[in-house]
Symmetry: C2
Subunit: 338 residues, 2 copies
């Protein structure tokens, strides 16, 4: 069979990462550009209008052209991993973090701009899951869950050797599972969503609570002396230096992470659960605590084989590699790499 | 193709229901016997020993023989739906509600007793899901979730046109997903499991809380005047007569049901969610409230097509019909009826 090269582009809140990937998952070329319209972090960071969306399409087209120009092989298709609800025709149905994206047909518009090149769009966390399933921590298993821990929580599911897409393509929106109905309010309008606890923003919240209670003095110093200025990064920094108080807060994060993971494990019975995203290193600092809490929270644990909880192996490239694989399959519903 | 008839047996906490089922799902014959060793309800109701297990195998063999004798067609295989964690070789790994069942090879032992007839064992709620998917409320869809609401909560998942089994065959154990970590203690050892709220026992608990708070006077009368004697059945009875206080308690049940359903919908994006089991009629009394709460709890609801929430159509036969279908496929991992 002739060598096939596809392009995968991961659209993040701050940057786009594009890769040209061959049959074996080898990265032949890499391009990164800032995500247009980005004005900060969190929902509605950029201008939510058609002009903003055009800039995103421009950037995607530019990344594709640069990657094509940088290699001497024809590219057969492009895959894009986008944040938000991407339906099964590649239309972005809800994208609070992507300027002007909601309701727009990325696949169709980008393909137009690229002279009809086959273009497939999928959710970014699902793409990362496909990447880790093909060449990373979940390689070779038929049932896996991946959670991407960033500002929020994204996810992807593999069941019985298939990527779980759902009826509309929206499966894996696990960050807003409510795990504490009287818990802290979430920007989504509910209370106690999982990502209020086990994400980067959740860690910041847990840390500021501890700081205001006088339990995080070293971390507060790192943050400049003000409890309200404490961020997750400060806790990770202090924990890495061995600060016991910081490790306690990371243990809380780990407990909430384990709670959501055990809920998903009850539903899906995966062999492997992979965690990735910006919090990867932070979680790894307390992985023993996550595993211990998971084992306590998983009903019937002693009757089950061990569920492996593993850090992602492809790092920040997982989403773009997965997007390239999704593009390769052509049909999102037929990506079966195992 | 010749007509094929298989037997399905649903092993409940109090009775076993056996059916002979043909290619179109038509029930040719029916047998029911009490589940041996049953001494009441709840975990460890029967003797958890090898003798108890032998009685279960005896009863399964008897049901099969009676069904075979009652029809004039050869039976090609038997399927058994059993409560608990059934692994992918048909061994029961954890079965608090089945006497002596844990760790025992139902499929192997029953097949021996039936002269080598092909025998397949699966989880009871998964069987019910297969039944509803083939001939009931979830017919024709590729992505569905079924919840069986009895003393506890069981579940089955259909994703992308496949039954979700998980790595060991344990998928769908959704009743013990923790949805309120500071909630009421669960016999499983955790706190705030979904089935503490949205099952028959959960309804009883919600009702007794309301009764002790003086909010359920009519229901307390129905229960004989003692708040502690109130059961879910009393609330359903009063609600059916239009008692507003009983409907409020059922509304609470419905809210908690919607919470767990919306969590599952976020993860799996089903087109249809089916509820069945002993609480079917009760839930239907407040289905509008369940739907309204579900719509409020589901993140991004306005960007999604409606998720249908439907009562099971096959009633108490769903599990046995599904078990007969699982037996038909021979290999649990290949049951794809849609």
């Amino acid at each position: 069979m002739a060598r096939q090269v596809t392009i995968g582009i991961d659209v993040g809140g701050t940057k786009m990462l594009g890769l040209a990937v061959d049959d074996e998952g080898v990265v032949l070329s890499e391009v990164r550009v800032p995500t247009p319209g980005h004005r900060g972090t969190g929902p509605a960071a950029g201008p939510a209008d058609a002009a903003g969306f055009e800039l995103v399409i421009d950037a995607l087209a530019t990344v594709t052209k640069q990657l094509r120009a940088s290699i001497d092989v024809e590219v057969s298709s492009v895959g894009v991993g986008a944040p938000g609800l991407v339906d099964n025709t590649g239309v972005l149905r809800y994208a609070p973090n992507l300027p002007g994206g909601t309701g727009l047909d990325i696949a169709g518009r980008l393909s137009e701009r690229l002279g009809g090149l086959r273009t497939v769009v999928d959710n970014d966390a699902t793409c990362a899951t496909v990447g880790e399933w093909a060449f990373g921590a979940a390689a070779g298993v038929s049932d896996a869950v991946m959670v991407t821990l960033g500002t929020g929580i994204g996810g992807g599911l593999i069941a019985g050797g298939h990527v779980v897409r759902g009826a509309s393509g929206f499966a894996g929106e696990i960050g807003h599972m409510v795990i504490d109905p009287t818990g802290p309010p979430c920007p989504c309008g509910r209370r106690g969503c999982w990502e209020r606890f086990a994400s980067g923003s959740g860690l910041g919240r847990l840390a500021r609570e501890a700081a205001h209670a006088g339990r995080l003095d070293e971390v507060v110093s790192l943050a400049g002396g003000d409890a309200e200025s404490v961020r997750g990064e400060h806790v990770t920094m202090a924990a890495r230096e061995g600060d016991p108080a910081a490790l306690v807060v990371l243990g809380e994060l780990g407990w909430w992470l384990a709670l959501g993971l055990s809920n998903l494990a009850l539903a899906l019975d995966p062999a492997v659960m992979v965690y990735g995203g910006g919090l990867l290193e932070t979680v790894t600092l307390v992985l023993d605590k996550v595993r211990a809490a998971f084992d306590e929270l998983l009903e019937g644990r002693i009757y089950r084989p061990e569920v492996k909880i593993l850090p992602a192996q492809l790092g920040e490239r997982a989403g773009a590699i997965g997007a390239a694989l999704v593009a390769r399959a052509g049909d999102r519903y037929r990506v079966d790499v195992a």
